[in-house]
Subunit: 343 residues, 2 copies
DNA sequence: AATGTCTTCCAAAGCGCTTCGGATGATCGC
DNA sequence: GCGATCATCCGAAGCGCTTTGGAAGACATT
């Protein structure tokens, strides 16, 4: 069933039917009603490709995941983010297309994405510190919003990010206040921007108290459970074990907890742990009495906000870049306590 | 830059340029090369919408997530599944579009999806036992593959699934062999097909040994960490606590472990745990010496296979439904041991 | 020299929609 | 009663591509 057939069926022109369906004024209320009913009855639904061709709009947003960081997609954070984003898309009638951009020629991929006319805008995931995608996308004129920032780039673009630096600075300061002096940082991969910012926050807090960051206590890897376990186990077995851990992901924190237990220690008493908590639905940290003391910021909320921001830009392309910095909450749970007295 | 312009630039017709670019034989090698070079130099890339309109193919696969089970998307399993699928799509040049189908009128959504011409095929996620989407999709003629099955449906369709029943039966039998008699099952939501099948496997193993399943030891909820914790904590505090837990997700298992520790017990000695392990990259259970004894089946692999299956069906629409049953491995880790002797 | 066969290219229709520029009556003002 | 105005509707062009059905020329065949 296409427009032509529907029009024929109604004894009207395609023009009129199209206008009736799209709410244009040059059509009587009576015919509009008749058209609408026929459309429903005959199960008519406009072909998106044809519509897109004619209007130049795709009614779809692209989420581009570079294949090199494909872990972005399998990272549980990703699921919650796009779940948030799709709430916004659903309301606005947009679709979401994920494209894996092969690594070989990333720029080319965006160009193609644009030329293909698949999407009206793009959300950039997992920016690196000097992410090449950002200047490139600015060149294309395709609206985009970055989830995160690229610290080494000094050009305007739209982003939404949480205040990684201040969150980790506060968390570190909190541990220092509890008397901890040897605080380990189990971070994400160093070239990821968020990881960089978190380390900065951590180091600032330390140096402000006159403590020199110990490189032996800092690790940056893919934030898996085994990473947390291995790193924590090693550090705890060393001569000068840390009394507290700060980590970037609840999953890593779970690994740390395992290492702590295995060393015969108790979390929150012998060893403190603070984690960042993206408030993932499947990894809830507890609402009232969280297991882990955490810096919390909902990534799902971030997804929703990013999508809304992007849709605004698509609606009004001339708009200036917009930025949104989310402040994380520091939530006290059961995983932190005063530093144990050295015996 | 579009075909017309490119053709004009080359002094050729659109026909010839199109043919040269798409590898048709009626064009000399020389012109083909010339065209290819110009296309690259001028950064030409065909408009997907126009191409789709003309060819009737969208070069995209739809992954439809009913909003009622939106947790499907935030479920970490989802990320790994689509990561696997996109490996296949990438090779074949397909895009992947996620559509959230609102709940109100789910059938309508598929119809629209088809009418819109957005996608060439669909992957159905998270089937329920009598999932209405399946008979409906069979009516549309749009190729689709289900990840999982719908036990109450007796119609042919393509699916890929793991052998949930046999996996959980084997796991339960293994626990029985170790002397456990009170074995709890912390399952997924009961209306989900996989959860149903797992329970069947669990109950079969019990009844074959003459043990009646105790409803007090069976729970089915969203498979989060807090669920595992709460359920396990309650059961362990009861008069007749279970000596072993069988659960559907590594995340839930982590919650169980927390409850065990908190009860002052040791996992693998006082209480055994077997979990299903989807082999998620971010929640690795360990390769050599897994933390948890587990039934393992890679969901990423399942995603790849599902995508390949779907692409085959799109290429040859007349093909009969195809099915693929993956057998899970039972992997022995550190979380199981002989049932403790009652004192 | 006439016919046939390739090879290489092209014009134009068509995919399903939107939208510009009218056309057709009905209604109105004077 | 006549031009002007308005409310409705329609024809046809155009979005960028593929593909059908030739056409033109080169060459071989008879």
């Amino acid at each position: 069933m296409n427009l032509k057939q529907l029009a024929a069926h109604l004894g009207l022109s395609q023009t009129t039917v199209s206008r009736a369906l799209n709410g244009y004024p040059e059509v009587s209320e009576q015919t509009r009603k008749r058209v609408a009913e026929a459309a429903r009855a005959l199960n008519y639904s406009p072909n998106a490709r044809a519509k897109g061709l004619a209007t130049g709009r795709a009614m779809a947003i692209g989420h581009v995941i570079p294949i090199s960081t494909q872990h972005e997609m399998v990272n549980p954070v990703f699921g919650d983010f796009i779940a948030g984003a799709s709430e916004a898309y659903l309301k606005a009638g947009y679709d979401m297309t994920l494209s894996l951009s092969g690594d070989e020629d990333e720029a080319d991929n965006y160009r193609r994405l644009k030329a293909k006319g698949h999407v009206d805008g793009i959300i950039v995931h997992g920016p690196k510190m000097a992410d090449g995608r950002i200047p490139f996308l600015r060149g294309l004129d395709l609206p985009f919003v970055v989830h995160g920032r690229a610290s080494e780039l000094d050009i305007p673009y739209s982003w939404i990010d949480m205040n990684n630096t201040s969150a980790f600075k506060r968390a570190t300061a909190f541990l220092l206040d509890l008397g901890h002096r040897r605080i380990a940082l189990l971070n994400g991969l160093e070239f990821m921007d968020f990881a960089y910012r978190r380390r900065i926050g951590y180091e600032e807090a330390l140096t402000e108290r006159g403590i020199a960051p110990d490189p032996g206590l800092i690790r940056g890897e893919e934030m898996t459970e085994p990473f947390g376990y291995r790193a924590a186990a090693q550090m705890l077995a060393s001569d000068q074990p840390p009394t507290a851990f700060l980590t970037s992901s609840l999953i890593t924190a779970i690994g740390i907890r395992r290492a702590i237990h295995e060393a015969g220690l108790e979390m929150g008493r012998d060893v403190s742990v603070i984690t960042h908590d993206d408030d993932l639905s499947y990894l809830a940290n507890g609402r009232d009495m969280p297991i882990f003391t955490a810096t919390r910021s909902s990534v799902r909320e971030a997804g929703r906000l990013a999508a809304e921001m992007l849709l605004r830009h698509i609606a009004a392309p001339a708009r200036d870049p917009e930025t949104h910095l989310l402040e994380a909450q520091l939530i006290i749970g059961g995983s932190t306590g005063p530093a144990p007295k050295p015996d």
